[in-house]
C-alpha cells in the first residue's frame, strides 16, 4: 500500500514529472503560493528546497505545508547541514504528522557557498545515514533505540550525480543510498543525454525510479556561472554554445526550448522513469516547458 499519492505513481509505470520551488527569503509567501497554484495540477509532485545553496530562506517544511494547503503533492527536501540528529528526526515526525510523507534526503551544500559563511556546519548525519534513520523510524524506534509513540511511514528519495566528472565514487554512494532505502532518485541537472543513457544502463539493475534533473538555463552567462559556482552542476559546452548563439533577450526562450527537447527525448526514448524540472527562480515557466514537451 502506498503512503502517498506520489508513491502510488512511483509504483505505476507512468512517466513521472516533478518540479521544485525555492521558498522566499522573507515571510511573504504570496509568490510561492502563486507558483504552487500554477504547478500543482501539472506535475506529480513539487519539491520544496531546504536553504538551497546554503542561502537562508523560508523553510522547506513550511513550503510543503503550503503545497499541502493548496492541494498539491509535496516532496520535502531535508539536508543534514543545519540540524543534528535530534532535530532531523523531529522534523521527520512533524512532516509525517502533517501528511508530508515524500522525503528527499540530502547531505546539503557546504556552508561556504551560501550567504551565512560563518555558520557552524552541522553534518551530524550524511544523506545515507539520514535515509537509514528514516527507515529505522518506520520500524518504531528512534536512532537511540527508543520506542516511538506513533510510527511514521515515508516515501524516500535521494539525489545522484550522473554527470560527475569522476563517476565511480558517486555510484558507490548511489548503491549505498539504494540499500539504505531510497525508492526514487532525482538526479542533478543533466546536460548531456549520453551521460544519462550510460547511467541508466547501470542503474536499471536496481529497483528504484530515476527522475532526470532538468535545469532551465536563461543564458550562456548563467550556465558558465553555475559551472563555476553551483555545486554539482556541469553544463556541457554544446549547451553553452547553443545558448550563446541566440539574440539578446531570447536566452530564456532558448533554455525552455532545450529543456523541452530533453524532456521529449527522455520520454520518447524511455531513457528513465521521469523528469525533475528545476527552473531556478523561473518557476512560472514550468507549464510552458511541459506544454512544449
Amino acid at each position: 500500500m502506498a503512503n502517498s499519492l506520489f508513491e502510488e505513481k512511483l509504483n505505476s509505470d507512468g512517466f513521472l514529472v516533478t518540479t521544485e520551488i525555492g521558498p522566499p527569503k522573507g515571510a511573504d509567501v504570496s509568490e510561492m503560493v502563486h507558483h504552487i497554484d500554477l504547478l500543482k495540477d501539472k506535475v506529480d509532485a513539487i519539491n520544496v528546497t531546504d536553504h538551497q545553496s546554503s542561502v537562508m530562506r523560508f523553510p522547506s517544511l513550511g513550503g510543503c505545508l503550503l503545497v499541502k494547503e493548496r492541494g498539491g503533492e509535496p516532496i520535502i527536501q531535508i539536508t543534514c547541514r543545519d540540524r543534528n540528529r535530534l532535530a532531523l528526526q523531529a522534523d521527520l515526525l512533524l512532516a509525517y504528522s502533517r501528511d508530508i510523507k515524500n522525503v528527499l534526503c540530502l547531505t546539503g551544500d557546504s556552508v561556504d557557498v551560501g550567504d551565512h559563511k560563518e555558520a557552524k556546519p552541522v553534518f551530524d548525519l550524511d544523506s545515507v545515514q539520514l535515509l537509514k534513520t528514516a527507515r529505522e523510524m518506520e520500524s518504531g524506534k528512534d536512532m537511540a533505540g527508543n520506542e516511538l509513540k506513533g510510527v511514521p511511514q515515508f516515501c524516500l528519495g535521494a539525489s545522484v550525480h550522473p554527470e560527475a566528472d569522476f563517476i565511480e565514487p558517486q555510484l558507490v554512494k548511489f548503491e549505498k543510498k539504494v540499500i539504505a532505502g531510497a525508492q526514487f532518485f532525482q538526479t542533478q541537472g543533466i546536460f548531456d543525454l549520453e551521460n544519462l543513457r550510460r547511467f541508466m544502463q547501470y542503474a536499471s539493475q536496481f529497483n528504484v525510479k530515476i527522475l532526470a534533473g532538468i535545469i532551465v538555463l536563461a543564458s550562456a552567462r548563467m550556465a558558465r556561472y553555475m559551472n563555476d559556482n553551483v555545486p554539482g552542476i556541469i553544463v556541457s559546452q554544446a549547451i553553452i554554445d547553443e545558448l550563446a548563439n541566440v539574440e539578446k533577450g531570447k536566452g530564456l526562450q532558448k533554455g525552455i526550448e532545450i529543456a523541452s527537447r530533453f524532456i521529449k527525448t527522455i520520454r520518447e526514448e524511455n531513457l528513465c522513469h521521469g523528469v525533475h524540472i528545476m527552473a531556478v527562480g523561473n518557476e512560472g515557466i514550468v507549464p510552458d516547458i511541459l506544454e512544449a514537451a
Binding site: V113, L125, F166, E175
Partner: protein, 227 residues
C-alpha cells in the same frame, strides 16, 4: 604538530594597550615549526611593535622577549619566574595550550594570546600548512585508506563524496582536494574498495565530551605488592 598564525597587529596592540611592561613569550616547539611564535617571530613582533610605537609616538610599552622550549608544561616555565616579576603582562605566542599553561603557572599576571591556534597539521611545503587531524577521538583511518574524511572533507561525511566534487576538488574551496576522491583512488589502488561500499553509521560524538583527558598511568598503590 599544532599550527597557528600570528594575530593581526591591531588586535595585539589592542590587548596589550593597558600594560606598560610586556613580555613577548615564544614557544620553541610547534609554534617555532609553524612559524607563528618561535624565537624569530617573537623578535620580529618585538621589532614591529617598537616600530608601531615609534611611529605613533604614543607608546608607553617596554617590551622584552624570551622563548622557552615548550610552553605546555610547567617545568619549562620555571626559568621565567624572575622575568615575570618584572612585567605587567605576558603576550604568549604559544598555542592555546601554552597560553593556558602559562596562565595557570603564573596566576597573578595577565597572559594574553598572540596567535590564533588553528589546527593540527603538516607543512605541505615551505610556508604552507595543511590540516590533517581533527582529534575526533575515534580514528577511522583504517577504513579510509589513511585519509581522514572528518578533517579533510569540509562536511566530514562518512559514506562517500557529496555531489559537489568537481575536478577532484571540493565545492567549498576549489584549491582543496576532495577527500573522498582521494580516498576512493587510494582504496582502489590498495584493492580495498569494499571498505567504501560498507555503510558507516553516524559518528559517536560522545567520545569527545569537552574537556577531554587521557589517563595512561594505571591506578595502583605504590608500596604494596607492586613495589
Amino acid at each position: 604538530m599544532i599550527v597557528a598564525e600570528q594575530k593581526p597587529m591591531e588586535e595585539i596592540r589592542r590587548v596589550i594597550a593597558p600594560y606598560e611592561r610586556v613580555l613577548l613569550l615564544g614557544c620553541g616547539t610547534c609554534m617555532t615549526v609553524c612559524g607563528a611564535g618561535g624565537e624569530r617571530e617573537v623578535s620580529f613582533l618585538n621589532s614591529a611593535l617598537r616600530v608601531a610605537q615609534a611611529k605613533s609616538s604614543d607608546g608607553i610599552h617596554n617590551f622584552s622577549e624570551y622563548t622557552v622550549k615548550r610552553q605546555c608544561d610547567f617545568e619549562f616555565l620555571d626559568s621565567l619566574a624572575d622575568k615575570v616579576n618584572e612585567v605587567d603582562a605576558i603576550l604568549s605566542l604559544g598555542c592555546g595550550i601554552g597560553v593556558q599553561v602559562v596562565a595557570e603557572r603564573f596566576p597573578d599576571i595577565p597572559v594574553l594570546p598572540g596567535v590564533n591556534t588553528s589546527f593540527m597539521g603538516m607543512a605541505k611545503e615551505w610556508g604552507v600548512w595543511d590540516e590533517r587531524c581533527a582529534a575526533c577521538g575515534d580514528c577511522r583511518l583504517a577504513e579510509t585508506a589513511g585519509i581522514c574524511p572528518i578533517t579533510r572533507c569540509t562536511k566530514g561525511i562518512l559514506n562517500g563524496p557529496c555531489a559537489g566534487t568537481k575536478n577532484g576538488k571540493c565545492e567549498a574551496n576549489k584549491d582543496m582536494d576532495c577527500a573522498w576522491i582521494l580516498i576512493y583512488k587510494r582504496l582502489e589502488r590498495l584493492q580495498q574498495l569494499d571498505k567504501m561500499r560498507r555503510y558507516y553509521p553516524p559518528r559517536n560524538f560522545r567520545v569527545i565530551p569537552r574537556p577531554r583527558r587521557i589517563v595512561m598511568k594505571a591506578d595502583v598503590e605504590p608500596g604494596e605488592d607492586n613495589g
